[in-house]
Amino acid sequence: MAAQRKWQLWRVGVFLAALAPLLLWSWQVASNTAGPEPGRYLLLNIGLGGLWMLLLTLSLTPLTKLTRWKGFALIRRQLGLWTLAYACLHVLSYALFILGLDWAMLGSELIERPYILVGLLALIGLVALGATSNRWSMRKLGKRWKPLHKLAYPILGLILLHFFWGVRADLGEWTLYATVSALIMATRLPPVARSLPRVRQRLTGV
């Protein structure tokens, strides 16, 4: 009972932590401290926040292997859904604050800015994963569930491409995210994945 309560607290804590940036940015916009282009401020911050969520989600499996701590696995679905939520809010910010719901402009934007299409593809992938993240889908899909959810890897690639395309002059920030992504993906290479439990044994002596 006490253990169950502990895990519940952990989940709620993660929920609040993932919500906090959204509240902070909204408050900055409301208090007029988000700069002269508040819509763009939200758009860019939420987009980057979504990338953070995806990277955190993808780091849970290697972390579990490294530590065997149950808590990481318990928040995987939640963080995956947060990734989807951030992505949806990113697109919503774009539609509301950048397009101003001017759909005629969307057509020309899609042609002018191919990276929007790349982002849209990533979103479609995330929606597919979000829609199949419940127990019912897991049962229904059976063995196919796992390969389907490995779509998260190409989605990460699409998001990095989407990000890269928008860079003007300094690749420093992008390179940082790309490096972290590469590291997280490297833990999934079979030899590395096999060695993770051994690393844990060496670290903890257990």
């Binding site: 916009v29 700069g35 002269p36 282009e37 508040p38 819509g39 939200l42 509301l96 604050f97 950048i98 397009l99 101003g100 001017d102 020309s108 934007e109 002018e112 800015r113 191919p114 990276y115 395309w165 928008g166 003007r168 002059a169 300094d170 690749l171 420093g172 920030e173 390179t175």
Partner: protein, 338 residues
């Protein structure tokens, strides 16, 4: 768009004593007394008083004097409602100045420590009267003017900003260009210790930041060398102590914190053209018909905007200064020379 460029002999609106000055006899007398004493600092109304919420600058006395004596509102937009002046906070808090970082608020955060005094500018190349000039010697002989220009960034946003400065033409004339001079090349300060962006190993810019103009563009009466804005000296993040303002070109042409002006026979290669020649050209004239490869230039977001009003305006040819500058490009294919 009609912008009146008055002949030097014309009386201007700014020559008329403003009512507030006429009525405030005490301050006026104080101002005269200050001028009489040759120390105009105490009694003169600061030009920045024209704008609300502008923190006082810390300009040296000579500059304070020149700024205060500037011909106010020498050039103004003809539609002050659409082209309302951006709040100082936005103009000084939302900048592209990659020497201080690539984020829009990085320059305001990191440019504080930039040492702008003393400052000197090298004028060299195809000139008879070149050399290294202290900023004061470079700017003091010219009459300062306040000019309210639209600034259109290549990223499709724009702001309206009241600059204070001198005609670049004045400075070039005093340098006495030789008959070979056809272009002007500008360079920004290189000082990685003061400019964190220059320490980034992932920067695509090969410092110093370089910009260039054709000589006739440089000599055009709209081309400004700014030392101030909003009635005060330039904040560091806006390119203190000396920057270029070319209102009919995308903002990146308006190079900041200038340390070198060279008259050249050959066309210089500007920094953005060097990085991405398919995206940025030498001319970079504002042109709604020639899109950036990654986005449209047909419209712009006039800042500040708000969440539910992106404040999108149609971008105008030469940023609305076509009547003044279109003839410079007569017969040129502006799709090719973008």
């Amino acid at each position: 768009m009609l912008i009146k460029i008055a002949k030097p002999s014309d009386l201007r609106e700014s020559d008329v004593t403003p009512e507030s000055v006429y009525l405030s006899r005490r301050r006026f007398m104080g101002g005269m007394a200050g001028l009489g004493a040759g120390l105009a600092l105490s009694g003169r109304a600061r030009a920045s008083a024209d704008y609300s919420d502008v923190p006082d600058g810390d300009a040296p006395d000579w500059l304070e004097e020149k700024l205060g004596a500037a011909r106010r509102r020498a050039i103004v937009p003809d539609d002050p409602e659409t082209d309302a002046i951006a709040p100082f906070r936005d103009a000084s808090g939302y900048n592209n100045f990659y020497e201080f970082g690539t984020g829009k608020s990085d320059p305001a955060r990191h440019a504080d420590g930039l040492e702008t005094r003393p400052w000197s500018v090298v004028i060299d190349g195809e000139v008879n009267n070149g050399g290294r000039f202290a900023l004061e010697d470079l700017a003091r002989p010219s009459r300062f003017e306040e000019r309210i220009y639209r600034l259109r960034c290549v990223e499709a946003w724009s702001m309206v900003i009241p600059w204070l400065g001198i005609s670049l033409a004045d400075v070039i004339r005093r340098a006495e260009p030789t008959s070979k001079a056809r272009y002007v090349r500008f360079e920004t300060l290189v000082d990685p210790e003061q400019m964190p962006g220059q320490r980034s190993s992932f920067s695509l810019i090969d410092w110093p930041y370089v910009e260039g103009l054709r000589l006739d563009e440089a000599m055009h009466p709209l081309t400004l060398l700014a030392l101030g804005m909003y009635g005060r000296e330039l904040p560091n993040q806006n390119g203190a102590p000396l920057r270029l303002v070319v209102p009919w070109k995308y903002g990146f042409k308006s190079i900041k914190s200038i340390v070198r002006i060279s008259l050249m026979e050959e066309q210089p290669v500007n920094s953005w053209q060097r990085i991405a020649p398919e995206e940025y050209g030498f001319y970079a004239n504002v042109n709604p018909e020639v899109d950036h490869p990654r986005w449209s230039q047909a419209t712009e977001r006039r800042l500040p905007n708000s969440l539910f009003n992106p404040n999108t305006l149609d971008t105008r040819m030469f940023n609305g200064y076509a009547d003044e500058v279109a003839e410079l490009y007569a017969g040129m294919d502006l799709r090719k020379h973008f």
